[in-house]
């Protein structure tokens, strides 16, 4: 019985890390690689979750939410990068404010269309399955597995593929990369769109497991920021390290002293890093 308890705690931890990694990934690309503080990151996750709500309202299977979220986030991401981010690339404050304004806009739009009440999305896979004597929801196990696959794939792509090399060149030295014929403008635009699409997809994946209301974006944004601040920007090691430290610390403290204390400790750690080591642990700088 004791083993089952340990297993359950372990699975819960894996789940917490998996969701944190998936929801942070989009911002890791946009903030970590492009250096853009996208304060609307959480709202793209929220849009993904609402895609699932919409799809369920129309009576379609949950899987249809993925292409819907990709379309919505993709188009929105392209428009935003072209007309909001690009003019403000050299002004980090104004980017912060402009994307915050965008976040507000998206929140209020969704409120006006869907209302402020909490929504839920059903999934048949939420039923429990027996895992070494413990009961655990199938959906969560699938999510953990998916997160591992995505992160492994990402690691190999970034480190070993030609496209990954081009991206690394661009972030290390954009001027030189451009001189070598890499179309940095286009690459940046693509990276931004991919970043927000990944955020939207993570929202679709999480939809059956979370409560859905227009204001959930802020929490995902802040968690992602803290992961990147502590872990460091622009490296895979930073993303993994940040997720491990922030997610692990939060889970540990929450299981002992309650969720509020867990969150408070994460906040304090982030403040310390922002103050003393703003480049994080594994920065590319």
């Amino acid at each position: 019985m004791h083993d089952a308890s340990v297993l359950l705690h372990g699975l819960n931890l894996a789940y917490a890390l998996a969701t944190l990694a998936l929801t942070t990934l989009g911002l890791a690309i946009i903030f970590g690689l492009l250096g853009v503080m996208n304060m609307a990151h959480g709202e793209f996750v929220m849009l993904g979750a609402y895609s699932a709500v919409a799809v369920q309202q129309w009576g379609l299977p949950l899987i249809a939410a993925a292409p819907l979220a990709m379309a919505v986030c993709g188009v929105l991401g392209y428009v935003v990068e072209r007309w909001l981010i690009r003019p403000l690339y050299a002004r980090p404050f104004d980017t912060l404010l402009a994307t915050w304004a965008l976040a507000m806009l998206l929140r209020k739009l969704v409120e006006a269309v869907f209302g402020r009440e909490y929504r839920n999305v059903e999934s048949s896979l939420a039923a429990p399955m027996s895992v070494f004597g413990s009961q655990y929801p199938i959906y969560r196990l699938a999510l953990i597995a998916l997160a591992i696959v995505v992160m492994t794939g990402l690691y190999f792509w970034y480190r070993k593929s030609a496209a990954g090399l081009r991206v690394r060149a661009m972030t290390a030295n954009p001027v030189l990369a451009q001189a070598l014929g890499i179309n940095t403008q286009k690459l940046a635009s693509q990276a931004f769109v991919i970043g927000v699409v990944l955020a939207g997809l993570s929202g679709v994946l999480l939809a059956p497991l979370i409560r859905i209301e227009p204001g959930i974006g802020v929490d995902y944004l802040l968690d992602a920021f803290f992961v990147l601040v502590v872990g460091g920007l622009g490296t895979i090691g930073g993303l993994f390290g940040g997720v491990g430290i922030i997610g692990g610390l939060q889970a540990l403290i929450s299981s002992v002293a309650g969720q509020t204390s867990g969150y408070a400790v994460v906040l304090m750690l982030s403040i310390l890093f922002l103050w003393l080591k703003p480049d994080g642990l594994f920065s590319r700088r």
């Binding site: 917490a16 402020r116 009440e117 939420a126 409560r211």
Partner: protein, 383 residues
């Protein structure tokens, strides 16, 4: 009377009864504070529908004190200070003369501090007891009604030995669970865990792990609306539904719909009202509600129905005091009765003596398994 006069008189009488009753003076504006956002937003649409039904019902009877009832809605799902500002706008800005409140206790605290007994305030939903402010009349069930008779009954039925208490971290969650502790220990069972989560939390993994580790076989769930939905769904998905029974005092039809019937095994709800209660008054009300709101009506439930009852309380007290003046209403409140969907209700210490039902869940929804009649609210407010 010859035939022509008779026909004329009958026609006149028919004409008179076909016309709507004439209203005296200006309309009576009633502020209705119901949650339209936040965890309790779940109860908003049904409460609004019941408030509108109540206004129509009262107006068909000639209104309150002969004045037509007009509704002013405000969102009570905001944080207490913001909800207070909304209520203030309705009271001082739009001149509401009575307030019906169907919202959480934190907002009630803010509103009581705001009104200071200057306007009659009817608080209708289930709550933790202890509200004795002047001018505040409480329809809602108290722990002395929902838990004091129910926990011993459940103890005899299902014989749980270890209880785990979980609630939202504010006055209702904490005080309800504190009262429950006393009743549980009197049955000889043990309380093995007691925790509180803020409204912002929607991931109960660590709480569920603790419940599992504690070996509890009964859980008292004092969570509100959306939080209750997420918790109960996760509870079942971790396979705990068959390991421990659940009892909730705020588990109504909308919450149940969110939880899903498959996740509601061994789930008990204790409440003063369920939509499928079998009494003549209740069935007539349910029929009236569906007729007015159609097939896609928001699910009728105890909280929404309590809003309706709040209006009945207002009507009864205003009539008895012949005024909306708080001191006059306070003076006549003790012992006043009215008829509603829940039957005859008697006001005692500004609360209401009422029947309590305990229901479990079948594949067709709630099923009442036990009724306690005329349970005393157990409050010591000095009138």
């Amino acid at each position: 009377m010859d035939r022509r006069n008779f026909i004329q008189a009958t026609l006149a009488a028919t004409a008179a009864s076909a016309m709507p009753p004439a209203f005296a003076a200006g309309p009576l504006k009633v502020a209705v504070m119901i949650p339209q956002s936040g965890p309790a937003g779940l109860f908003g649409p049904s409460s609004k529908a019941c408030a509108e039904l109540a206004a129509a019902t009262l107006n068909s009877r000639g209104g309150v004190l002969g004045r037509k009832v007009e509704l002013l809605f405000g969102d009570a799902g905001l944080a207490p200070a913001e909800a207070g500002q909304t209520a203030l706008r309705l009271w001082k800005g739009q001149k509401a003369e009575a307030v019906i409140g169907m919202h959480d206790s934190a907002v009630r605290g803010a509103l009581v501090g705001l009104f200071k007994g200057q306007v009659p305030y009817f608080y209708t939903p289930v709550y933790e007891g202890g509200e004795c402010a002047k001018g505040t009349y409480v329809k809602g069930e108290t722990p002395q009604q929902q838990l004091e008779p129910v926990i011993p009954w459940l103890a005899a039925e299902r014989k749980p030995t270890k209880w785990y208490l979980i609630g939202n971290d504010y006055i209702w969650g904490r005080n309800t669970n504190a009262a429950a502790k006393g009743y549980i220990e009197k049955t000889g069972a043990k309380v093995v865990g007691d925790e509180y989560v803020p409204f912002t939390v929607d991931n109960f993994d660590s709480s569920l792990a603790r419940i599992r580790d504690s070996g509890a076989d009964a859980v008292l769930v004092s969570l509100v609306g959306g939080a209750a939905v997420t918790f109960n769904k996760a509870f079942a998905s971790f396979g705990l539904a068959d390991k421990a029974l659940r009892l909730g005092t705020l588990l109504e039809e909308n919450t149940l719909a969110g939880i899903g019937l498959t996740n509601a095994r061994n789930l008990y709800s204790s409440s003063g009202y369920f939509a499928n209660i079998d009494t003549p008054a209740a069935t007539a009300f349910a029929a009236e509600y569906s007729k007015r709101n159609g097939a896609n009506a928001p699910a009728l439930n105890g909280l929404a129905e309590s809003t309706f009852e709040g209006f009945l309380m207002l009507e009864a007290l205003a009539k008895k005091a012949n005024s909306l003046d708080v001191p006059k209403m306070d003076a006549v409140s003790e012992g006043t009765t009215y008829q509603g969907p829940r039957g005859t209700a008697t006001i005692k210490a500004r609360h209401v003596v009422q029947d309590i039902y305990v229901a479990d869940v079948t594949d067709r929804g709630f099923r009442v398994v036990k009724t306690f009649s005329n349970v005393d609210p157990g409050q010591t407010c000095k009138v």
